[in-house]
């Protein structure tokens, strides 16, 4: 079971986030899907919201590349530790494109039932992204 959930989680990352194929979201995401993204003020729900979220990140970072660093599966749940890299070439959360490349890390826990995502929880380095894009000042390093 855990091998299957890992493969499904990997497929969404590879095909949708990295490849821009949003049709795979129809296949892999349940209509009852609830997404908890630390960067969003409230959970989003449903397939179209999932597509919109992926499309928004890809519009802001057209060369977006999520690399899976580690996956741990248990029953219906799979945890994915990932690193995301991309060049900020489009609006993101009101931030105009900066042309800067950024690298952030995050951890996502997915609940997958009958081959489909039903709920996800993601915490990622939103502050680090803001600092890298120059929206929030970063302390100078020694």
């Amino acid at each position: 079971m855990s091998a299957e959930t890992k493969a499904i989680a990997r497929r969404l990352i590879d095909e949708a986030f990295n490849g821009g194929n949003l049709d795979v979201v129809d296949e892999l995401v349940s209509p009852e899907f609830v997404n908890h993204d630390a960067a969003l003020p409230e959970p989003t729900r449903g397939v179209e919201a999932a597509k919109a979220s992926i499309a928004a990140y890809r519009a802001a970072f057209p060369d977006l590349r999520l690399t899976i660093e580690q996956q741990v599966g248990e029953g219906e749940f799979v945890t994915t530790r990932w690193t995301g890299t991309g060049t900020h070439q489009g609006d993101l959360m009101g931030m105009a494109a900066t042309g800067k490349q950024s690298t952030v890390t995050g951890i996502t826990i997915d609940r997958i039932v009958d081959g489909r995502f039903v709920e996800s929880w993601t915490n990622w380095d939103t502050l680090g992204l803001m600092q890298q894009l120059g929206v929030v000042p970063a302390l100078a390093t020694a």
């Binding site: 070439q89 900066t98 950024s102 992204l129 890298q132 970063a138």
Partner: protein
């Protein structure tokens, strides 16, 4: 003063925009193509504005005369 404030592990190079890990920033060297792309991206509004200004000038009476004059010179 704020010793616990986080600092991201990566920061974009201020010259070429490449994401550089903190422990690699001293060894970083800008790729020429990336540097040029990044610099042009930073100037995109000015470049677009300049093109608009040139187009507007060329559409003005004086600009149209200069275009006509340049064409006469080109024909010899």
């Amino acid at each position: 003063m704020f010793p616990s404030l986080p600092h991201p592990r990566h920061m974009p190079c201020p010259d070429c925009g490449e994401s550089v890990a903190a422990d690699e920033r001293h060894a970083h060297r800008c790729d020429d193509d990336r540097w040029l792309t990044y610099q042009l991206f930073q100037l995109r509004d000015e470049i677009a504005s300049l093109e608009e200004q040139v187009a507007a000038y060329l559409a003005s009476p004086r600009g149209r005369f200069e275009l006509w004059d340049a064409e006469q010179r080109r024909r010899g």
